[in-house]
Subunit: 439 residues, 2 copies
C-alpha cells in the first residue's frame, strides 16, 4: 500500500452530470479525507460512459495516490464502473464466489431469491478484491492502477457512508507526520476585499500570500466572509492557533464564530451566535419587519432553543398594520414615508412596547423589483435597533441584488447591528452602510 | 462561434475540493445546458492551484465544445481563474478599461470608493472579453481555447445566475435539429410514491416506464413533488403537450405550476401560485406564526408584488404575545396548551381581526429538537385557516426531519390548505395529515 498524499474523487452517473441530482457524496468524502490528512486535489463527475471512466481512471492514476469512485455499481446496464475499472487495469472480469454468496445471502435475509440481474454485481477485475456491502447488494471494489490505490464505492449514502468509514478508511495511509488541520473564522459586516486588505496588513506579513503556511483563503456568501485556514507540517495546531489569534486581532468584533473544519454553515452560524450573545446578556428580542416580512424572525427561530430569547414579532407590510400594531404614528408615515429613518425608529420603539422585550430590531425598505424611486431606489433599507433606556440606533443601507438578496442582506445587517452592539462596539460602520445616521 | 454539442463545467476553489462547501452551481448550469440541447459530459472541481486549472482548461478544450468555469474571479490572491485562463491561452493579462469603469461605478452606486484590491478584477487575457457583472464587482470572461468556447463566471449564485441567463445563454449554440424539450409540473400535497402510482395508472399506460417517450421522472423536495418530462424526436412539443394534459388530469388540484424547463424552483413557484390565486380571488392575507417564527410570511413575501395580498402578520413565540396581540384567551392556552387545535384556531381568528384581512393562516407546533412529549412529539404541528364568514379549518400534521425540515413543511402545508381551499377543494386530505379535524 503506497502512502496517500493526494486523492481524487470520481462520482459516476448521468443523473449527476446532467444536473438532475446534486452530488453530495464527493463533499462528504473530501471532508473525511481531510480529517485523515489526505489532500483531495480534484473531483470529477462523469456520465454513464465507459470510455470516459477508463480515461479518467488512467489520467488520475498518474497524478494522485488515491482514487475514490462512487456510483455505477448497480445491477443494470447503465452501471459501468466494474467494466471500466477492469479495462483501465487491462484485466478480465471474473466472478467473485464469496461476493456472490454474500449477495445471495443478502436476499435470503429478506425472504427473496436473488434476481438473475444482480449476479453481475459479483464481478470484479481479476486482480481486484471485493468489499462486502452490509447495507445493499453492490459490493465495493479495491484495486490498484499504476501506483494509485482505487476504491469503488456504491453511490447511495446509506451504503457509502458505512463502507467508507468501516472498511475503506482503515486502509487509507496518509504519510506519517503529515498533519493537515483546517480552521474557519466567519466574519460579518465587512466586504471580502476589506477582509483581504486587513489580512494583507498583518504585522506577520500578508497572510493570504499563496506561499505562506498556513494557507489562508476567503469565501463570501450573503454578507458573511469566511476566512479559511489550512496548515500542514510538523505542528499544524500551533501554526493554526497563531494565525487564528492574529485574524481575531485584525478583525475584532467582526468575527462571530470560528472552529475546526468548516465551522458550520455561515448562514446558520450567525443567528446562532446572535441568539447566544443575547442569552449571555440576558436580553429578550422582538422584531418588526416590513420588507423582510418575517425573514429575520425566521432566521433567528431556526436556532434550536431560540424561544428563550426571541419573544415574537410583527410583520407590518401594510401601513395600517404599522400603525395599529407597532404604534407608528400616522403623522410620521405621512411626513416621512414608510421607508424612512423616522418610521424605522418608530417601528422598533413600538415593537419594544408591544412585545415587552429589552431589544427590538425593525426593518423597512424597498426590496423591489418595483417600488423604487430616485431618492429611495430599490435596495434602500432602513434598520433600527431599539434598546430599553438607550437612544435608538437607526441606519440606512444600500443593498444590491434581487429581491431575495436584498431581503437576506437586510435581515443579516439587522442582526449585525445587534451583534456589534452586544460586543460593545455599537457605532462601528458596517458594509453597505454608506450614510450612518444617529437619531 | 462553433456549435456546442458537448460541454464541461469546472468549479474552482479550495473550499469545494476540500469539502468545506457544497458545489450547487455545477448542477444548476448542467440543467440550464440540458434545457438548451447541449450535453454536459464532465464536471470538475479544482483547488486554488493555477497549474491544475491551466492543465484542465487545455485538456477539456480538446474534448468538448463549451467550457463553463465558475469561481476564482474575486479580488484576492487565491482567485486564480484570470491568470490561469491567460496562461492556458498563452496570452498576457491586460486591464480592460470598460470593466474597470464598471467596477468603479458599482462602488460609486453604493457610496464607496473602489478598494485598490478590486482593480485586478478588471484584468482579462488580451484575446478574451469581459462580461459586465450587474450584481457584483467580478466581471465574467469570454474566451476561446483551441476550438472550445470558454466562459468564466463568478461563483456567488446571485451573480452567476443572472450573468448566465442574460449574457451567456444567448451565446450558447446547440446544433440545429437537436430538439430536446423539457417540461416540469410541480405538485404539492401528495407523496412521491402516490404521484408515481397515479402516473403508473394512466389510461395511456405507465407514464414512468423507462423506455417510453417522453421520459417521465419525479423529484421530491420539501413537500413538493415535481414531475419532469423530457422529449426528443421530430415533434417533441406535441409529445410533451399530450403528457402534460394527462398528468394534469391525473393530479388535479395538486398541480400548482408547470412550464418548460425546470418551471422555476419549486419552493419559489408555490408561494407565487398562492399569492396569484389570492389576488385573483381579491382576498387579503395575514399570518400568525409560532413555531415557524416568520418563515411563512417570509416565503410569501419573497414573491414580487406580494404586498397587495399579504397585509402583515404576528410572530407569537411567547404565550403572552399570543394573548396580547393575537387575542388567544388565556383560558384556551391553559386548558389545551400552546400546541393544540383550539390555540391554532384562536390564533387564526385573532389574526383575522387584528390584521383586518379576509384570510388568516396560523401555525403552532413542536419544531424540536427539544420540547416534545408523548402526546405531542417533535413534528406535531397544528395549522388553522380562518376565512371571514366560514368555519375555521384546523388540521393536525405529523412532520418528519430536523427543526428546519419541520418548519419548512409546516409553512408549505399552511399554504397548501389555502391553495386547495381557493381551488374549490377545501376538504381534500393532504400529505402528513393523519388525523383531519374540522372545528
Amino acid at each position: 500500500m503506497p502512502l496517500h498524499r493526494t486523492a481524487a474523487i470520481i462520482s459516476q452517473g448521468d443523473e449527476i452530470v446532467l444536473g438532475q441530482t446534486l452530488d453530495t457524496n464527493s463533499k462528504w468524502l473530501a471532508e473525511r479525507l481531510m480529517e485523515r490528512g489526505v489532500l483531495p486535489v480534484e473531483h470529477v463527475s462523469l456520465p454513464d460512459d465507459q470510455a470516459a471512466l477508463v480515461a479518467t481512471f488512467r489520467r488520475l492514476a498518474g497524478t494522485v495516490d488515491l482514487i475514490l469512485c462512487t456510483g455505477g455499481l448497480g445491477p443494470t446496464d447503465d452501471d459501468l464502473t466494474r467494466a471500466a475499472l477492469a479495462e483501465a487495469m487491462n484485466q478480465p472480469l471474473v466472478e467473485d464466489a464469496e461476493a456472490l454468496a454474500q449477495i445471495i445471502a443478502w436476499y435470503q435475509g429478506r425472504g427473496r431469491p436473488m434476481p438473475d440481474l444482480n449476479r453481475v454485481q459479483a464481478l470484479r477485475p481479476a486482480a481486484a478484491s471485493s468489499i462486502q456491502n452490509h447495507h445493499g447488494t453492490a459490493p465495493g471494489l479495491a484495486a490498484r492502477i499504476g501506483s494509485a490505490d482505487v476504491f469503488c464505492i456504491p453511490g447511495p449514502p446509506r451504503e457509502l457512508f458505512p463502507m467508507f468509514l468501516n472498511q475503506i478508511a482503515p486502509l487509507v495511509s496518509p504519510p506519517p507526520g503529515v498533519n493537515v488541520r483546517t480552521w474557519t473564522l466567519h466574519t460579518i459586516g465587512m466586504g471580502e476585499s476589506d477582509v483581504a486588505t486587513k489580512l494583507a496588513g498583518s504585522r506577520m506579513g500578508n497572510l493570504m500570500a499563496r506561499a505562506s503556511s498556513p494557507l489562508v483563503g476567503t469565501t463570501a456568501s450573503g454578507g458573511v466572509v469566511s476566512v479559511r485556514l489550512r496548515a500542514t507540517g510538523d505542528n499544524p495546531d500551533a501554526a493554526i492557533a497563531e494565525i487564528v489569534a492574529e485574524v481575531k486581532r485584525l478583525m475584532g468584533v467582526f468575527v462571530f464564530a470560528d472552529g475546526p473544519g468548516a465551522a458550520g454553515h455561515p448562514h446558520e452560524a450567525f443567528p446562532t451566535a446572535v441568539i447566544g450573545a443575547m442569552r449571555t446578556h440576558q436580553r429578550t428580542l422582538g422584531v418588526v419587519e416590513s420588507c423582510t416580512s418575517g425573514l429575520l424572525g425566521s432566521m433567528l427561530g431556526d436556532v434550536p432553543g431560540a424561544s428563550d430569547v426571541l419573544m415574537g414579532g410583527l410583520i407590518t407590510y401594510a401601513n395600517r398594520v404599522k400603525t395599529a400594531l407597532a404604534g407608528v404614528p400616522e403623522s410620521v408615515l405621512h411626513a416621512h414615508g414608510a421607508v424612512s429613518a423616522e418610521t424605522a425608529a418608530a417601528m422598533a420603539e413600538g415593537g419594544l412596547k408591544a412585545l415587552a422585550v429589552t431589544d427590538c430590531l425593525a426593518i423597512t425598505g424597498v426590496a423591489g423589483p418595483g417600488g423604487g424611486s430616485d431618492d429611495k431606489p430599490v435596495g434602500t433599507v432602513w434598520i433600527a435597533h431599539a434598546h430599553k433606556g438607550s437612544p435608538t440606533d437607526v441606519r440606512r443601507f444600500n443593498m444590491a441584488g434581487d429581491r431575495r438578496n436584498i431581503r437576506e442582506w437586510a435581515a443579516r445587517s439587522a442582526m449585525t447591528m445587534l451583534w456589534t452592539h452586544l460586543a460593545g462596539q455599537p457605532g462601528v460602520p458596517l458594509l453597505r452602510q454608506p450614510l450612518p445616521v444617529q437619531k
